[in-house]
Symmetry: none
Subunit: 212 residues, 4 copies
């Protein structure tokens, strides 16, 4: 048997001798009483953008979906497998989360792929190409701009993707209803990997601003 | 505008004044050079089972997909949106990860849903019901067993789900090929939320055992 | 006679009893030996964006042109009055400055005017409309984007205007030649009025980034 | 990339750790509510004569045009680019400033150029030469005077240029009208770089006198 990667086992040992010792009571309680996270995060798979790290979160605090480019597909009750929609349903209906945060970040490879429509597919299945189709119209509009730099177009689409996911979240009847009743609040945020800066979305204008 | 949840901003401030200070050079480097994670994790959305926490991982180390019950659907190049398959393609073909770990955990709500086939759908869309269909045959078989306790059935299906995901991973031609060539290794692991114990899968037998 | 505004005279008294006392020798020297500023700033008239304030500059340090939206028109040796071109010539040929900085800023009213092409002219002469024509093609392209917010379009054009001015600076043969010879360097910068953040332009990519 | 001049970044750091700290609330307010300066300054680019310094002005107080020799061209609604006229229109019609101050100063290089009509052009475009043509008749008259010293002729033209700019300001119909209605007041001032003395113009006589 190929043994489990040593660097992961070393990390696990650190966890057990460090954080777990401090929080063992909390883990035991979370196991007995079940999780009661207040917030669902829709975040990216990127190795530099884990919500637990950025928000210094304790176990039990964040229910986290991670897919490429932190996307939420529109409501499609069509009988297909919809991983993100299933997680959303579980969080909103099952766990009754109070907040949903769509968290994007700088230098996102998925967004980069969306802005490179002529790139060869990574595999014959071209799953990235199809997944990123959710952003196709927006990416085409951004790409038609010849006077913004490549970096500016990338940042623009990263933020548009967050607003897109928020709009799609509101296409789910239960999300829309819970938000209307004031039981659920939706937020956008964008993390700058290089500087560590967090930018949060102004829900009225859609602009991203630095929190105080 | 509803302001961003205070407990998240407080957590972010802790991150910035703590971990980010220690790792700012690393973040800057990761921004400039791009991410080069060695491992893709397929993990659960559960708030108690973040891979970064359990493996005490630094930024840049783990590329992480999180969906309900850490599932990988089978290879279906059908033109639909497949978030998990897209992330898998990105990790294997784009980032050339060396390891894939499917990480399950105890008290998993998604597995519990799979073992409760007569429960009412959480919403009319019943996204959880459809998503968990991926485990339907396994769940039916486990449920037909009347002499394992409820807890044993739950743990059993949690582990079967991990083996299921690993089998589905191997239905992707590029994963199969890369594994054959020795460029990619696949692992299963299961985390006990209550005790903090990690169990890793023996790749030959499929059994879960404690690492040394 | 309407007497000179009192708040200005009060400010002048503060200057004389404060800063001037500390720097009187410097003023005397600057009067006797002439000014030898190292840097020409092309900045905006905006009351919130004075280069002397933002860069905490002493008398004699910055030669400063200020017009609406920190613009440099292209090289047009046509015998007309060109205030900005005259100042540029004076700084480069007369004072032999070593640096030119084009300094833009957030919430710029001139840029806002450029993005509002259907607004009524402020006066029959419509001087703003004509001046801002220098940005017309860029503004049209930015305005054709329907998925960026108003704030994002504004910031985008503010930064494009800086790059535009830098390109136009290089249309002046003496600027181009001096830059080629390494005697003169050109820079872009953007000041966020709200947060006080300074962003400097990467001369290779045109992106604006935070200095260390 | 040539990095941004260090002395400017150092100055910016001083600003951020000093003045910005004291005035951050003001900057934030100015960003949110927009600028409302009471006064437009027409000043010179000279590095020794920044209005913000001389009048110890806070951010948001002064809207500032700076060109060589603080000149205002006459009203010319001819469709050409007129940077100073555009700024004037913006200040008077857009911002509704209450005061316009034309600020001249001693040892002005632009005035010196106007008094040296046989000097070689600084560049083939001779932008200074053309710009200073606005003062040509006045300069010729001053130069025809053989019994004032060179220094006296320089000071004389510096002050004439201020009166000239004030006269040209009144050629703009909207300035003329607003002044007539008492909504706008025009002032001249002259700053002695060496002594720090401010001289303000008597609006009736045109003489420059020391304020009390």
């Amino acid at each position: 048997m190929d043994s489990f990667p040593k660097y992961l086992l070393d990390g696990y040992k650190n966890f057990m001798s460090g954080r777990y010792v401090e929080e063992s009571a909390r883990y035991r309680q979370l196991a007995e009483e079940g999780q009661k996270p207040q917030t669902l995060f829709i975040a990216c798979c990127d190795s530099r953008a884990a919500p637990e790290t950025i928000f210094d979160a304790s176990p039990g605090e964040l229910f986290v979906v991670r897919n490429v480019a932190n996307m939420v597909p529109p409501y499609e009750p069509d009988g297909q497998y919809h991983g993100t929609s299933a997680a959303l349903e579980f969080a909103v209906e099952g766990l009754k989360v109070k907040n949903i945060v769509v968290l994007g970040h700088g230098r996102c490879g998925g967004i980069h792929a969306a802005l490179s429509p002529n790139a060869d597919p990574l595999s014959p299945g071209d799953f990235i190409g199809k997944w990123i189709n959710l952003l196709k119209p927006a990416a085409a509009q951004i790409n038609s701009n010849s006077i913004m730099t490549e970096g500016e177009r990338q940042t623009a689409l990263e933020r548009i993707s967050i607003r897109n996911s928020l709009a799609n979240l509101r296409s789910f009847p239960n999300v829309k209803e819970a938000e209307k009743q004031g039981k659920l609040k939706l937020y956008g945020a964008w993390f700058d990997i290089s500087s560590g800066e967090l930018w949060v979305m102004d829900n009225k204008t859609g602009d991203f601003i630095r929190p105080d």
